[in-house]
């Protein structure tokens, strides 16, 4: 086939026009669709809660700092780690933690007030904040961690490739990496008299794990393990429902949330 210069230029010009108009045509037919799919319009949301289920469910945890003491903290941590077969390595380098204790200046480094002697001596329980805008979910390259419609930031160990981006992204240090096979230590602990929760799996080497708000218990209609262990210090409920117990407590008590200035919108509240 032969083509003169005139015909070629016409064809090239037409092709370029179609190419340039491509994205514009998309915008014309389905406005906002392309951007939405790329996740560009998800930020700056004022209301706490998933867009899709804002009016329905947004699970949150309230921790009454005033009601915590050495005894119930130990019970809470033990219950959680028993329920989820979390090994106790004893070495901070290999440590796996779902819920743990720390002090005021480490929990609120941004708003630490050295003259606040009430909070200074208080025990704080730390766990995954199940953020409304979770940075771990944004950085996970395989969507192993994802936000459920009820607000729980879940971790899918089947998908996790152990890249630890989520650990770098999490501003709360809520995630632990299995450097070693957790079963190796669990076997030692079982030999020493530890009990396993036989209805819950373990993890494998090379995956990241964290608190899951006891999603497996919620599915059965039971409260999270920590709430069951200390019902007078921990409260769990639906933040999206203005008539829920957690909302009524939040109306009456002063509450703190960790690192609010980062915009992650944590769902764990500390009652003072």
């Amino acid at each position: 086939m032969s083509m003169d210069r005139r015909k070629f230029l016409k064809a090239a010009g037409l092709t370029a026009l179609v190419g340039l108009g491509g994205k514009g045509a998309f915008e014309l037919l389905r406005p906002g669709k392309v951007d939405a799919e790329m996740g560009h319009k998800d930020h700056g949301e004022e209301v706490h809660g998933d867009k899709k289920s804002r009016s329905k469910v947004r699970l949150a945890m309230l921790i009454d700092v005033m009601a915590l003491n050495k005894k119930n903290i130990e019970k809470i941590v033990h219950t959680c780690h028993y329920l989820h077969n979390v090994p106790n390595w004893g070495d901070p380098k290999d440590e796996i933690k779902w819920i743990w204790e720390d002090e005021y200046e480490h929990v609120f480094p941004d708003s630490y007030n050295e003259y606040n002697h009430i909070l200074k001596g208080m025990p704080f329980l730390l766990m995954c904040n199940h953020c409304d805008n979770p940075p771990c979910v944004r950085v996970c390259p395989v969507q192993a961690t994802f936000k459920r419609p009820d607000g729980i930031v879940a971790q899918d160990y089947h998908r996790c490739i152990g890249c630890r981006f989520c650990m770098a992204a999490c501003p709360y240090g809520s995630r632990s990496f299995n450097w070693l096979d957790p079963r190796v230590h669990l076997r030692i602990e079982v030999a020493e008299g530890r009990k396993l929760n036989k209805s819950f799996p373990t993890r494998m080497r090379g995956v990241v794990e964290k608190c899951n708000f006891c999603v497996e218990r919620l599915a059965e209609g039971r409260p999270p393990g920590c709430v069951e262990a200390a019902p007078d210090a921990m409260f769990f409920g639906n933040l999206a429902d203005p008539n829920s117990k957690v909302r009524s407590i939040l109306r009456e008590r002063v509450s703190l949330r960790r690192k609010l200035e980062l915009g992650t919108k944590p769902s764990v509240f500390y009652l003072i």
């Binding site: 994802f146 459920r148 419609p149 009820d150 879940a154 899918d156 160990y157 089947h158 079963r183 669990l186 076997r187 079982v190 396993l196 036989k198 209805s199 819950f200 799996p201 373990t202 993890r203 494998m204 999603v215 599915a219």
Partner: protein, 132 residues
């Protein structure tokens, strides 16, 4: 051909070594595995039926379990409704292994025969066994 004798001897030695495992095991095919259904929970069933029919479970349980995994974990829906309309709680460790409480004689039998190592057992374990 130079050194024909040596080459031939070499070839013969090679053939002997190469063929040895085939000749040694000749006619001794490992018997087809028979996964055992002999557990108290299965015996107590009025009708010996798994979640779906046996044929389907034998051929498709791998994809089926993946489907269960995604449904329970990703979609948060822990109920499975089978073809008969029976509702079943989705859980490998708490549903499958409750009836099939003999992982060694059931799951492992075929998996070992077929030489597959499903990574299910990296995290999930037999709640009936004493070992982790």
């Amino acid at each position: 051909m130079y050194d024909a004798g040596k080459v031939m001897i070499g070839l013969a030695v090679f053939a002997c070594i190469f063929l040895f495992p085939f000749l040694y095991n000749h006619g001794e095919a490992s018997p087809k595995p028979k996964p055992s259904l002999d557990t108290p929970a299965i015996k107590a069933l009025p009708q010996k039926k798994c979640v779906e029919d046996t044929r389907f479970m034998i051929t498709t349980h791998m994809q089926f379990l993946n489907h269960w995994r995604d449904q329970a974990l990703r979609d948060g829906n822990r109920w499975y409704v089978n073809k008969e309309g029976r509702k079943i709680w989705i859980s490998l460790q708490n549903t499958c292994l409750r009836c099939h409480s003999n992982k060694k004689e059931f799951c492992d039998k075929c998996h070992n025969y077929a030489g597959v190592e499903p990574y299910c057992w990296d995290c999930h374990y037999d709640p009936n066994g004493s070992k982790l």
